[in-house]
Amino acid sequence: VSLANYVRDKPAVRIEASTPVPDSIIAPILWGLEEEGMPADIRVGRHGSAQRLAKQAADGSPLNVGIGIEMAKGSVALHHRDLPEEKPVTLLADHHLDVERLRRLGANAARLVKGEPLLMESGLESCSPLSHVTQPTDMF
């Protein structure tokens, strides 16, 4: 990898798709990123599951965050470079691909970069706090 590669890759959330993606899927994701002020870098051609594409996109993104779209199965995944491939931040299966969810996925990709709280489906504020206890396992 030459230095030129680093210089050429703009800081952006990378989006990888196996085949060209219809506007109805890609546009809401880009709106979510745009509202959060985050640039995107779309690449088409690699093959694999949404999770694998997302992981590859995250690994290749200078911001460590990637989105993978597998049109054949109609699934979309959000990934971070530090996460193992089988554990994406979000995985939307085909029946979940509505505008709201796709836009939220785009916004969360940006928030993941910015270190800001993610937007949750239910609206976290309305829930009882103890139902959201996270038990971290395996600390160093």
């Binding site: 509202e35 270190g115 706090p129």
Partner: protein, 618 residues
């Protein structure tokens, strides 16, 4: 061989100590236990908690109730505390409505002035006026941007927009001509139409400049001096916001409401003082000190403080099954605090921080019916039950088993409902005092000041340190240290301030930054516990002089707190008192003092020797 159980029923926890008494030799403690108190202290329902605590302790000693020769209950002090928070200042707003909030991503920049109008009504409106356009949820951002661009080309003068969805940046990016846009306004339908309005958006990292200054608001809306004074709460509520809207509404649209804070009369043994609540906590506490010992408090009817005392008395009367007239306020603790108040005229639930006084009251009730509880317990477990020993005395006896202590020693019991102090002098004489205000008050202050409206979460914030989740794999604790995790953290806590509890990470559901939450928590603990520690020691110390106390041990649940003992130690350092957390019997920490004292006291009356504490070395 016989097992004797000491039982201490407190406001929040029930503790048991089990000691073995031989015919000769010292008491040998074999087990202890702690459970949550069931029912109000002194009522028959306590028996359920006592039995489970006994069984728990006996189980860990490898025995059963059959080995138990006797159960000793403490003569609990008949005091119960309650807390309330009352506002001194009632926020009033007239003739303006406002929106002020921090959407993560508003659109555009700067200040826009115009008349409020719905997006769809714009084309039919006269084109000679400046407008602030309102865009409801139903309108897609692309459609909104197209409409605004078309209006612009038709010579409409649009100066700003108010948007219901999180679309501010998206709309702004599609406009040929930039305007400030405030988005994520939940109750957009409440915005009055055809009214003069100002929209302001600050750059990232900045906060609004004009709408947080009353004179700039006066300049924008041509307000007279009287009206300017009335927009001060609006300006204050908007201070620090990234974006804001102020709308001038016709006279009388938003009504003014004032409830006086009221006065209270403190009746002491020898003196009487009247104090106005809006003079603040210091003034109230100065007068409390002047009338000490306090015998009763009378508060003005129809005022905030009157309502508060009525509530406290009513609750106490119900709990203790006595007439309201029999409830006397024996001590109060007043603290200054801030209380977020819904701003009248706010369209997005805005709050301004009103000055408030938190009051904890302690009422003396008739002697608690401990004998009745003892009989009920005896019927259940078929073991002799006796009420033995005064709580304060038992606490000192138990606390004296802490290695390194000697009389004259003071015991500071930091509980949930009250802060108690007792002192045993060289002659073995014991003086004690019960003061209003303890852990529950700290919880209330945290809950109120952070606007959590969730007592359980406030309790959690009080008990545990905070951290900020900085990535999927690490968080930064409030002391700056970083902790990494092998497994990714839940995306739900990503980027959030969390409470680090023993059970895991709990999101602190507030938008306040970590430093603010820490400051509020520490301030509440300082105000309540440090102030009460000094008040209590002055009340029991020889000649009221804290310097004459050699040793002070802290017991009770709040002595286990991760920062309260340190705060009290710091405050008492200048008096030269050896201050620390008790370690009852060298093993139990600040817990179990009264239960231990009961067993020791029983042993000494039977001419048994009591043991010293166990030390780990030497």
């Amino acid at each position: 061989m016989a097992y004797i159980a000491g039982v201490d029923v407190g406001n929040s926890s029930t503790e048991v100590a089990i000691g073995e008494l031989d015919r000769e030799g010292p008491v040998r403690f074999v087990a202890d236990a702690l459970v949550k108190t069931i029912g109000i202290k002194g009522t028959v329902r306590n028996a359920i908690g006592i039995m489970s605590a006994l069984d728990l302790a006996l189980l860990s000693a490898g025995s059963t109730r059959q080995d138990l020769a006797m159960v000793l209950l403490n003569e609990a002090t008949p005091v119960i505390g309650d807390v309330a928070m009352e506002t001194i200042t009632e926020t009033v707003i007239t003739e303006s409505a406002m929106i002020g909030h921090n959407p993560s991503t508003p659109g555009g920049l700067g200040l826009g002035l115009g008349i409020t109008i719905g997006l769809k009504e714009l084309s039919a409106a006269p084109a000679d006026k400046p407008y602030i356009v309102i865009i409801p949820r139903e309108v897609d951002f692309q459609e909104a941007a197209e409409d605004l661009n078309r209006a612009r080309s038709n010579n409409f003068d649009v100066r700003g927009a108010i948007v219901q969805k999180d679309d501010g940046v998206l709309i702004h990016n599609r406009l040929g001509h930039p305007i400030p846009i405030v988005d994520e306004v939940e109750h957009i339908e409440r915005i009055p139409l055809q009214m003069p309005a100002a929209v302001e958006v600050a750059a990232a990292g900045m906060s609004i400049d004009k709408l947080s200054n009353p004179y700039d608001i006066a300049t924008i809306f041509c307000l007279d001096p009287e009206a300017t004074a009335r927009v001060v709460p609006v300006a204050r509520a908007l201070t620090g916001a990234r974006s804001a809207v102020v709308i001038k509404t016709p006279h009388g649209d938003v009504r003014e409401r004032r409830i006086p804070a009221g006065t209270m009369t403190l009746i002491g043994q020898n003196r009487k003082e009247t104090v106005r609540v809006d003079e603040g906590a210091e003034a109230i506490m100065a007068k409390v000190a002047r009338v000490t010992p306090l015998k009763e408090v009378k508060a003005e009817h129809g005022t905030n403080v009157g309502g508060m005392f009525e509530k406290v008395r009513k609750v106490m009367a119900e709990l203790t099954d006595q007439p309201v007239s029999a409830i006397h306020v024996q001590d109060i603790l007043a603290v200054n605090t801030l209380k977020p108040q819904k701003v009248l005229g706010g369209l997005a639930g805005e709050c301004s921080m009103g000055v408030a006084v938190g009051l904890a009251a302690m009422v003396e009730t008739r002697k608690l019916p401990m004998q009745r509880l003892a009989r009920a317990l005896e019927d259940q477990i078929r073991i002799p039950v006796a009420v033995a020993g005064v709580e304060a005395e038992m606490a000192v006896r138990g606390a004296l088993t802490t290695p390194g202590t000697a009389s004259p020693m003071a015991v500071l019991d930091l509980g949930g409902g009250s802060t108690d102090a007792s002192l045993m002098d060289d002659a073995g004489e014991i003086r004690s005092v019960h003061l209003a205000g303890a852990g529950d008050m700290v919880t209330l202050m945290i809950d109120t000041e952070l606007g959590l409206e969730n007592r359980q979460l406030a309790e959690s914030v009080k008990r545990h340190p905070l951290a900020k989740v900085e990535s999927l794999f690490h968080l930064r604790h409030e002391n700056g240290s970083v902790q990494f995790f092998r497994e990714p953290l839940d995306p739900e806590v990503f980027g959030r301030v969390v409470v680090v509890t023993g059970r895991g990470l709990v999101p602190a559901q507030t938008r306040e930054p970590l430093a603010k939450i820490v400051a509020v928590r520490r301030q509440a603990k300082q105000e309540v516990f440090v102030q009460n520690a000094i008040r209590a020691l002055q009340a029991v110390a020889p000649a009221g002089n804290i310097r004459l106390v050699d040793f002070l041990v802290m017991v009770g649940g709040s002595a286990l707190d991760f920062e309260i003992p340190r705060m009290i130690s710091d405050a008492l350092m200048k008096y030269g008192v050896v201050t620390g957390r008790a370690n009852v019997r060298g093993v139990a920490g600040p817990r179990n003092a009264v239960a231990t004292g009961l067993v020791l006291s029983h042993a000494s009356t039977r001419k048994y020797q009591s043991i010293g504490a166990s030390c780990e070395l030497g």
